[in-house]
């Protein structure tokens, strides 16, 4: 079933729309949550929460890209849950992602020149559009979807070393770009 029809069903209050959404993008949502949360039960619960949130959001929301919309919602919910769980116990995979992302940040951030987060998001979007396709997709798979290097190695047909090198180069470029755009002094 195409996305427009699914949105239409949810918009009209037809619960089958959520079933269709789960059937079409449930695996995607599960994989996003799984890459952030270590507990299977938490993953299932987060996907269910995301489906409920989408159900509640439409209307008034009318997502133009249902796949990306679903992925964003489940990712945000999974991060929230991870933050909550983290108080009790640290999780290795998510911590590794955070540690890598830290490399993108300028060492010194001046409060007076710091851009609003929304502007920074726009800068990151622009930066990513300017990157070669593979580098861009590698970055998003790693830091949006939270994919492991081994899975990415299979998906992209590259060695793990090549994946790591490419990600390193992109993080380095992003840091330089953010500095250039005034995120840091």
């Amino acid at each position: 079933m195409d996305d427009e029809r699914i949105v239409e069903m949810i918009w009209n209050g037809q619960e089958q729309g959520v079933d269709q959404l789960n059937r079409k993008y449930g695996k995607l949502m599960e994989s996003v949550a799984r890459n952030i949360l270590p507990c299977v039960e938490d993953v299932r619960e987060t996907v269910n929460d995301a489906l409920l949130q989408i159900w509640n959001a439409i209307p008034p929301a009318r997502p133009a890209d249902l796949k990306a919309y679903s992925a964003k919602i489940v990712r945000n919910l999974a991060i929230n849950r991870w933050k909550f769980d983290r108080r009790a116990k640290r999780d290795g995979h998510a911590d590794a992602l955070l540690s890598e992302l830290e490399e993108c940040l300028p060492a010194r951030v001046d409060i007076t020149t710091q851009l609003e987060h929304r502007e920074i998001i726009q800068q990151i979007n622009t930066f990513l559009y300017l990157q070669p396709e593979t580098a861009r997709n590698l970055f998003i798979c790693r830091y949006f979807f939270g994919d492991g290097v081994e899975q990415m190695s299979r998906d992209f047909g590259l060695s793990k070393q090549q994946i790591s090198d490419r990600l390193y180069q992109t993080r380095k470029k992003l840091k330089a770009y953010l500095i250039k755009e005034g995120v840091a002094v």
Binding site: A68, A71, C104, V109, H117, N125, E133, C141, Q162
Partner: protein, 310 residues
Amino acid sequence: MNKMDLWWALGQLDDELISAAARTRKEENIIMMHTRKTNRYIRRMALVAAVVAVFAALGITAYATDAFGIKSRILDADSWFGPETAMISLAGGTESAEFKAASEWEAFETEYVNSGKMDTASLKTGYATAGDAQRAGAYFFYGCGDVTMIETVQSIADKYGLAIHTQRVDIPNVQALLDAEQGNIFPLGEEFVGYLYEDGSYKLDALGSYGESVMVSVTRTVKGTLPPYSLSIRNVDTYTEEEYTNSGGVTVQLMFSSMEQRGVVMYETDESVFHMNLVCYASPSSAEAPVSIDTLKAAVDRYDLTKLDG
């Protein structure tokens, strides 16, 4: 902003970026490997059959890529992306200095980076602290990660009598710029972003819709400078080529594949080489649909190619 803020912020990326990346993920390979392979095989065979049928019905003369054209521009090196992924030069055929230099640089870069010899700290100790950080920054265009790479790219350029890019400016909205200065070159409604080098070379990206939704990159490579990038076309054996004269009377080379999600348009003048790289990011029938020749023609017809060389 701290690392947690950045992680959170990445959740607000543009939908197009997320969807495009999502299509490279193959979780189905893990969960339903057998089914996926079978479906993919059937779908691809169906696509091949469809393409063959169209050519047969219309009597279009398509010829093998090894005759001329695209294969003559493959860089002579295993690319970053492995031996099954061909990279083509964006700056002329095998006899040009630009091609030879790009090929040599590509080969060095691949071997050097894979060898693990790169010493990123040398940029700080070598160039930055010597007051030459600006020069080091210029080589960022070529993906140089250390002093050895910087010196190598310079020596390759010197060997072939080519210049190195020294400046690049980002262009947040190409359409607005061109509307003001040169009139409408790009299709209305498409906002190109990109960057421009000091010699007039540029790379522009946009999302477009020509029957299929595609990401479009337009590159102009001015001759006389070492081109900073090449183009991945993946499996070259799946491509065929055709000459086409667009609605403005400009003859271009179309390169399209029965398998890959991309098509390429090439157009060369005395001064420059142009490439339009179209990558399909959505299709009603299949997320893996190739960019069709009709889509390529529709895209080319919408551009005033004579103004691209300005």
